[in-house]
Symmetry: C2
Subunit: 490 residues, 2 copies
């Protein structure tokens, strides 16, 4: 870089210091860093109803990208979108015993329509199993009507006490898949298929490594026979459940009287699944990739994949050339050209905070040399790219950012995963080393409860990839059944 650029670098750092000062550093206060990033990068605003949030354009554009990527995966595997009502009559919610016990304490109740008191109060859906069952009962009569492979994109409400943007808000947006099958095997295969889609999505779209596994009975979804999960590890060493897929057997079908005539002309109950991911994934992105300068967005969901910034734009020809370059690359990826009055330094800091994967700088010297400088947000690496090659280089650089983010997150997870062989080790790690803890378990609920009590950890999952790191349960010392991931979780 020539002198002109170096000087600019100083300016940039100055401007950045000034702007970014307002983001608390991660090490100082991770929770504060998180909310600072949410607010200052304009993902959200707080709403007048406590515990609810406003998703601002930049945050919602990330959600739209997540939706598009995920929806295409659902459709490719034969799923259809539907829309169920927002409200569930109390009597309908109560039909499946475990389910109502799990959700009734945290639902919002509607008691009046206009001036009139309702005959039966209704809750705002916390999840829609009961509504889907009620509908399935109407439309499924013969094996020819199966499978039903449905999904819906909607809002749900859970009246939680403690809330945080994206991670746990009283209203959130999600997708909930609900499927009905003629056999248990088919429903089980669906449950696993959707978990695999979530894991593939997390890795290939969000650049986020996940552990796939099954939940213990204690951590299961209310009413499920099995709950499968993808678990990610956040920057601060806490786990984040990022997507779940449930196998219901025929429990709901029995509770809701759903029957069909099978090929042998017998009346039988069908088997069911449900699976969901939420706006929580945006929280996962922030806490997996972000740094003290703000967001870092994986290219596949970044609303702006590259920002094009003219340098010394008052000089002759700079703005014209920048527009020309913009026209050339605008269909290659999601590019924003920022030719506003703000200084380059201000812009650098602004788009760093917003986590834009690539920054393209174009100044008089660059134009002279028919090139530009492309800077990666994930590692700060600068590449001088010929303007003739930019169209082919940009996709490669975006891929490099994705891979870089994934690599970094995977390394961190590996570094922050510890093995515990006995209760003392477990307590020590839980207290001193944030991260995943791998430990053997006998399968008893008592040990699970005790680990929560004495070490403050919950079981995250029984991973599909097992490794016998000891023969005995980390808690009671009896013969172990499985290796589990444990941790503190959001």
């Amino acid at each position: 870089m020539k002198g002109g650029k170096r000087c600019l670098q100083c300016l940039r750092n100055m401007a950045k210091d000034k702007l970014v000062k307002s983001i608390t550093s991660m090490d100082e206060d991770f929770a504060k860093w998180y909310t600072d990033v949410c607010i200052k990068s304009e993902l959200i605003d707080y709403a007048s109803v406590k515990g609810c949030m406003i998703i601002r354009p930049y945050g919602y554009a990330i959600w739209e990208n997540i939706q598009r990527e995920m929806d295409s995966r659902f459709k490719k595997t034969g799923h259809e979108n539907v829309y169920m009502p927002l409200f569930i009559p109390e009597s309908l919610l109560q039909k499946e015993k475990d389910h109502v016990e799990g959700f009734a304490p945290e639902v919002a109740w509607v008691t009046h329509g206009g001036e009139e008191k309702l005959e039966e109060r209704m809750c705002v859906r916390p999840t829609s199993e009961t509504l889907f069952c009620d509908h399935f009962k109407n439309i499924v009569h013969s094996y020819r009507d199966l499978p039903k492979l449905y999904n819906q994109w909607c809002n749900v409400v859970r009246w939680e006490k403690t809330t945080r943007p994206f991670l746990r808000s009283r209203e959130f947006l999600w997708q909930e898949g609900h499927t009905l099958h003629a056999t248990a095997e088919e429903a089980q295969a669906e449950t696993i298929q959707m978990l695999n889609i979530y894991a593939e999505f997390a890795e290939n779209v969000l650049a986020m490594p996940v552990v796939k596994g099954v939940k213990t009975a204690k951590e299961r979804f209310a009413g499920a026979e099995d709950t499968y999960t993808i678990e990610a590890l956040m920057h601060d060493g806490k786990a984040l459940q990022s997507g779940t897929s449930h196998y219901f057997g025929d429990g709901f079908a029995k509770a809701f009287d759903i029957e069909f005539t099978d090929k042998n002309n017998n009346q039988v109950h069908p088997f069911q699944t449900s699976w969901g991911t939420t706006t929580r994934l945006i929280g996962a992105l922030i806490m997996t990739h972000g740094d003290d300068s703000g967001l870092i967005l994986p290219p596949a969901v970044a609303p702006i994949q590259a920002v094009l910034i003219p340098i010394a734009s008052h000089k002759e020809g700079v703005l014209e050339k920048t527009s020309e370059v913009y026209e050339k690359i605008k269909n290659v990826c999601r590019v924003k050209m920022d030719a506003s009055e703000q200084s380059p330094g201000w812009k650098f800091a602004e788009y760093e905070m917003k986590g834009v994967p690539l920054r393209i700088e174009l100044g008089p010297k660059d134009i002279e040399n028919n090139c530009c400088v492309v800077v990666r947000r994930d590692n700060g690496e600068k590449t001088v790219v010929s303007l003739d090659e930019l169209v082919t280089k940009l996709p490669q650089l975006l891929k490099a950012v994705h891979d870089g983010l994934y690599e970094k997150a995977l390394n961190r997870r590996e570094t922050m995963t510890y093995d515990a062989h006995n209760l003392e080790e477990m307590k020590d790690i839980a207290e001193n080393k944030p991260g995943f803890i791998r430990a053997m378990w006998c399968g008893d609920r008592e040990c699970e409860d005790k680990l929560k009590e004495v070490a403050g950890v919950t079981s995250r999952c029984i991973p599909f990839e097992q490794e016998e790191i000891a023969e005995t349960c980390v808690c009671c010392g009896k013969k172990a059944k499985n290796m589990l991931y444990w941790g503190k979780a959001y």
Copy 2:
């Protein structure tokens, strides 16, 4: 057509009679015809909460197509999507006086979260002006922050007494645009721009002609200074308000204390608009284009644009050739190949009922001649198309269906639009000739109320295209100000 085909035609008619018998004829009972179409073509199912509906895959796919087409128009004109909370605290709803009076009688109230009674009850949003204002107040401080061009896709609830699928349901899906501008002129221009987008969308996507105009004061949105509307005419001669665009002036900004520093460093209030369309558009489609065989969908929003049906599929080579043709055209438009066990006649009736714009028949004779038969849903016209030309012919035929539908609807509207010059004529037309009534009006609310009382009509709009069909008010005989469209409306 050769003998084989004619025989098939008989079969087809038999099967059709058998199937379609269950749809009530329009002339016999239009309301019953409408709900029959909604249910039998599997657009909706009734839900356990009265007045709410389940939108089934076929209905939801239409909505997804509407959303995609409309959303791209919003984004092209610089609008960004956001997401506001579902709930509005009662005190927030009450901030704008006219607005609360308009909506409070028909909102659903949430009074409890879990076991606990809320300190302040909240309503489920019937529309989100108050929420947007509350947010604008937080984020708009300087003229540099303007304009804000926001939209959201979401569900809303209005606790109506009488409900009908799509047309008036207690919960519905919609988009609501909310924008904030530095000047009244800019906000007014936005209001008109969005009305024009709605009208263009109605004509070019839904093949539905509309009258553009402004509402009288009586018919305005609660809190608006002006409400603009697009009004369509349904098959039965009733009007359907299909989209509205509101200019608020600075009334809401004042009520919510939204201020910004303008270029001259003065603290001033911004000017505001909102505009919306809903799942009601699906009802509009049904009642504009449908016939006694069921739905007829305009190609731009049809989930299946062409259905490919093998004839005599047990004969050698038919299924193979059908698959080959499918592979060739599957990326040309949204094609479904139906090679199921059902008879061709059953399939013909089924896809007619579902309103699929084109049917492609492929039998042994066709294959021998390297052609297929394409049948238009809108007019039954059959075209023999060479298989070599199918890829280029399909888009042309889809365009022809769109144009045919638009033409037919426009002709019907013109035929069903009547001029009334005095009260007697008005009463006579209103009683005997379903349709739009054009008549002059003096501008007094009294005359508007009287026309409702004696002729049962409401003012639909003061159309932009004025024509002085008389000099005096149709009601009081005093000097007239404007020509209005009047009618009975959904």
